[in-house]
């Protein structure tokens, strides 16, 4: 367990969370002595365990080797962590309904629900982004289809003339042209919106020559490519992931001492969950393409929270990643996108440089690149669908827990 080694380091009693909790403990005993002492103690245990679990999980996430950070499996793990935290948080709230429905908790929880509703739009945007990646994956499949061994090509149709042959096909100019076309479409698809117009013009120049069917079809292609880019977004043009993240983080501050006391300590998990929500949404936006990505969100987390260190360290690592030269203009920091971009760029350069007939050395190089591309493609194929399901699950859970909260508040008012 990686958790054990840092637990010790965060143990000092200068720890704000801890000191607030103990402050509360005294107050609870002083003010609510009529309460069952054991239930107050069990709440205490519940809250402390939540803080520790959150810290453990994020520590786990942050202690991955740098080449696993922001990979598809890592993002999926991040969402798992969110789901578990959200569930525990929900249980805490429902175990302490009476307290939750009283000030100041009613306001704090209402704030949290408002935040979480804002996260729903991020979930939807991320779902669009995943769909976008899937479209790129389709272009990669065309490349694999063109340059891959027939045995690699998993074509559904059994009418395919090349099916059933396990020989290594000789790579000819035709296959390269086919692959290059898909690669250029991919490159344009992966560009940020603002650069795409120029690139599109370039693409059409280079393919206008190959394609002899005259200018009308070029225009059509232009049009459809433009649409190809914008189609996947289900939100309005003016929607911005960066602004949405800012809205989620708005006024997200650590609870004041009196709030912690008045809420029996329950203000702490609300703040914790707010930070988890903000961080997870921020990381998703960092990883996955979506409209107007922007990572300029500030995390004001007092270092004293045991989970602050791993979250802030992850934040820092991801920011660093985004500042790397070759990632600066990336449409998403997802490791697989990076690999896809790199592989396809290298393959594209290779394709531009080859002479026909292909010599053995070049052919081996091409086959190597294609193999790498195949791996990326495979990883996407395996990871994207479960990721999309998870994002949807996050959406549903947020809605469900909010509905539950609103219902409970409604019933409380009935009493």
């Amino acid at each position: 367990m990686p958790a054990t080694d840092y637990q010790g380091s965060s143990a000092p009693l200068t720890n704000l969370g801890r000191s607030l909790l103990s402050l509360r403990r005294d107050q609870v005993h002083a003010m609510e002595s009529h309460h069952d002492g054991s239930s107050a103690a069990s709440l205490e245990v519940e809250l402390e365990s939540f803080q520790r679990q959150v810290a453990d999980r994020f520590h786990d996430l942050s202690s991955v080797p740098s080449d696993e950070l922001l990979s598809l499996p890592w993002v999926r793990k991040l969402l798992d962590v969110f789901l578990v935290c959200q569930e525990e948080f929900r249980v805490i709230l429902s175990n302490n309904r009476a307290q939750v429905n009283r000030p100041p908790m009613d306001r704090l929880v209402a704030d949290f629900y408002e935040r979480s509703v804002k996260a729903l739009d991020v979930c939807n945007a991320i779902r669009d982004g995943i769909e976008q990646i899937r479209q790129w994956e389709k272009l990669l499949e065309i490349v694999l289809c063109a340059l891959g061994d027939t045995s690699n090509v998993n074509n559904n149709s059994n009418t395919n003339i090349n099916n059933g042959n396990c020989y290594q096909r000789t790579l000819g100019e035709g296959q390269f042209r086919r692959a290059k076309k898909a690669l250029i479409d991919l490159a344009i698809g992966m560009l940020d919106e603002k650069d795409s117009g120029q690139a599109l013009a370039h693409r059409n120049r280079s393919f206008g020559r190959n394609n002899n069917s005259g200018s009308h079809s070029r225009d059509h292609h232009h049009r459809s490519l433009g649409h190809f880019r914008s189609l996947s977004w289900s939100v309005s043009r003016s929607w911005s992931a960066a602004r949405q993240l800012q809205a989620i983080g708005n006024n997200l501050t650590a609870p004041r001492g009196n709030e912690v006391v008045a809420s029996n300590g329950l203000a702490m998990p609300v703040f914790t969950m707010g930070c988890v929500l903000l961080f997870v949404m921020w990381a998703l936006v960092a990883a996955i393409p979506c409209q107007d990505r922007g990572l300029q969100v500030h995390f004001y987390i007092p270092r004293q929270f045991s989970w602050a260190a791993p979250i802030l360290s992850l934040h820092e690592k991801i920011l660093e990643e985004s500042k790397k030269r070759d990632r600066k203009n990336a449409c998403g920091l997802l490791r697989e996108i990076y690999q896809m971009e790199k592989c396809s760029r290298l393959l594209g350069e290779l394709a531009d440089s080859v002479q026909f007939p292909l010599n053995e050395e070049k052919e081996a190089e091409v086959r190597q690149r294609v193999k790498e591309l195949g791996h990326v493609c495979e990883a996407m194929k395996e990871g994207l669908e479960p990721l999309e399901k998870q994002v949807r699950e996050v959406f549903h859970r947020i809605v469900r827990s909010r509905t539950e909260g609103l219902d409970s508040l409604g019933r409380h008012n009935a009493e």
């Binding site: 086919r178 069917s213 609103l406 219902d407």
Partner: protein
């Protein structure tokens, strides 16, 4: 050609022998079997070419390729759409068929160097042809869709959709008169009254052409390109159709912030768009897709999903946003509309999204539909809370109808117009109704009637709380009576009556009567008391005095009561008359009796007329002026 065939056959036989034979002897044995089997496989012919590395078969392949190259290159170079000319297009298709067949036939021998080299050339040719196919496919799709501009002529009246447009009609007439090219006939639909139509999204000639191209692209291994072009074009078409219906892309945040009135309009547009999409556009896309990709069901399913996914998510996201939105009771009716729209579209979701790829979309629709049910229950919960918490601010003047009674009753009556839907929603879950309330009413009543009875109870207790604000307990009773009467009336003449049941109505009618009796008792018993006659002191001197006091007391009390109660309100005319009659019946006989006796007392004599301020008729007239509202005479006849 016949010779070519034989060469091919021999080449295949040699190839089989070579591949299957693990050593030369085995290969030789296999060749022997072939030669025994058919005279064409003579040992000389076969063995000769076993040694020869440049078989005559390959020469034939080369000849075929040369000829195909000439034909195909010529078509690839044409600078106008090939499908504009049916002779060109069918010759092009034939050439491709031959190229496909050639590659298929020779591929088993690709390991032979010369054949392999030929196949590379064939692949190259195929690629060029496929690029051209892709372009042709795209321009056919786009031209077809342009000629089919779904709502160009009438996007302002989306509900009244027809698919004709004038210029197309003229074209059609020309074509029809020629009696030729029926393929390009555009179906013209009558203005839409129900959605039970599926349109051919493209002219059927175009569909056939697309299918022919798709067939070749699939066979050549270019399915992905084909499907991509197809999906992109159709998706664009769908998106345009939806946006022509005025449906915006809105985030959940934007929906939450939108003023309700605007949102109501958006919901109206959504309902139309959702119906149109699920009942016409998607099934039409399904049909188109199945026809273009006929014979390739998996490709058809995948392409169809790609086409519809974005639009479906766009539509569902909006419904989702509505379900997450405010629980303000005023929203009930529109949320019900959205719920009912989705519910009624479920069979369409089931049928149009039945395949494996679309299953996700169908499940999403179910989830969001259920969530709308939760939203509706949430709205009722909010209504309950609003009723419960509605503060007793200022008393309604004259004990009249309270706005909350009017609001709640009319709200519930309106809600009950969607009784079936609400029953469905409340049956899903009994959230919001305390379990003991459920037990109270036995198992025969539906969740909805329990819910309604519960709201009525909340309303009554809120009204009772409000009645306390009146210092006059008679007025308090009038207030309760008025509101109770209104409630019973509104229940009786609506679905609420059958939901709450006859017992409920009886019980509450009785309550109203009780309030009325209470009023009489409180207001008039004391006055009646002043008119009571003492039998034993009838003749004494003191009796006259006491009688004098009594009439004075009556005069002032009656005057006071009338003055006050003329400003009170009984909104229901019938009830008002009944109450006046009841008061008259209560008071008048006693008064007549009293003044009769009073006038007979000798000590009073001629003073009687002076002391009796009201004749019996005056009293009746005064009573008649009761309950006419705040300005007294405002409503009087």
């Amino acid at each position: 050609m016949a010779e070519n065939g034989e060469e091919k056959l021999l080449a295949v036989a040699r190839h089989i022998a070579k591949t299957l034979g693990q050593n030369d002897t085995m290969a030789d044995d296999i060749l022997q079997i072939f030669s025994n089997f058919d005279g064409r496989f003579s040992r000389e012919k076969l063995s000769e070419k076993m040694v020869d590395e440049d078989p005559r078969g390959c020469a034939a392949l080369e000849r075929t390729l040369n000829s195909l190259d000439r034909q195909i290159s010529q078509y690839v170079a044409i600078d106008h759409p090939i499908w504009a000319d049916s002779a060109d297009s069918s010759a092009f298709l034939d050439a491709i068929d031959e190229l496909i067949a050639t590659i298929r036939d020779w591929s088993p021998m690709a390991s032979e160097k010369s054949v392999g080299a030929c196949l590379v050339r064939a692949d190259d040719l195929m690629q060029q042809a496929m690029f051209r196919f892709e372009d042709e496919f795209r321009s056919l799709m786009e031209q077809g869709a342009e000629s089919f501009d779904l709502s160009r002529s009438n996007h302002e009246s989306a509900g009244n959709l027809s698919f004709d447009s004038d210029d197309e009609n003229e074209d059609n007439e020309g074509l029809l008169q020629n009696g030729a090219d029926l393929d390009h006939q555009i179906p013209v639909a009558q203005p839409l009254t129900d959605y039970d139509i599926v349109i051919d999204a493209l002219p059927s000639g175009t569909i056939n052409a697309l299918h022919e191209i798709a067939k070749r692209m699939v066979a050549a291994g270019f399915l992905k390109e084909c499907s991509h072009v197809y999906s992109t074009c159709r998706r664009e078409f769908l998106e345009e159709s939806i946006s022509r219906l005025g449906l915006q892309k809105l985030s959940i945040d934007e929906v939450q912030k939108m003023p309700w009135q605007e949102l109501e309009d958006e919901i109206e547009r959504w309902i139309k768009a959702a119906n149109l999409a699920l009942r016409i556009l998607f099934p039409s896309e399904r049909r188109l897709c199945d026809r273009v990709f006929f014979g390739f069901s998996s490709a058809a399913d995948l392409s169809f999903m790609e086409v519809c996914r974005g639009c479906t998510i766009h539509l569902l996201n909006f419904a989702d946003a509505i379900s997450i939105g405010s629980r303000s009771p005023e929203r009930l009716f529109k949320v019900l509309d959205v719920f009912e729209t989705l519910r009624d579209l479920m069979p369409e979701f089931d049928s149009v999204f039945a395949d494996q790829y679309c299953l996700v979309l169908r499940n999403e629709a179910i989830t969001i539909w259920k969530r709308l049910g939760e939203a509706i229950r949430g709205i009722f919960m909010e209504l309950e809370n609003l009723i419960r918490r509605d503060p007793a601010k200022a008393a309604v003047p004259g004990g009249g109808l309270h706005p909350i009674t009017r609001y709640v009753m009319n709200y519930l009556r309106a809600a009950c117009r969607s009784r079936q839907t609400l029953e469905q929603v409340f049956d899903e879950s009994n959230v919001g109704v305390p379990p003991n309330k459920l037990d109270d009413r036995g198992s025969s009543s539906s969740s909805m009637s329990v819910q309604m009875a519960w709201i009525m109870e909340l309303l009554e207790s809120n009204l009772e709380m409000k009645s306390k604000i009146y210092r006059d307990s008679a007025l308090c009773s009038v207030f309760m009576m008025n509101n109770g009467r209104y409630i019973v009336q509104k229940v009786k003449d609506s679905e609420l009556g059958s939901l709450l049941g006859d017992d409920w109505i009886r019980k509450h009618s009785t309550k109203v009567r009780q309030y009325s009796t209470n009023y009489q008792r409180i207001s008039w018993n004391k006055i009646l008391g002043t008119l009571k006659l003492d039998n034993n002191s009838l003749a004494s001197n003191g009796a006259a005095k006491s009688m004098k006091e009594k009439i004075k007391s009556f005069n002032s009390q009656f005057e006071e009561v009338c003055k006050i109660q003329s400003t009170w309100v009984v909104f229901d005319e019938q009830l008002r008359e009944e109450m006046k009659i009841a008061v008259t019946r209560l008071l008048l006989p006693a008064y007549r009796n009293f003044i009769g006796r009073f006038q007979c007392i000798p000590e009073i004599g001629r003073n009687a007329d002076r002391l009796i301020r009201y004749s019996a008729d005056d009293v009746e007239a005064k009573i008649n002026e009761l309950f006419e509202g705040s300005s007294g005479g405002r409503k009087s006849r």
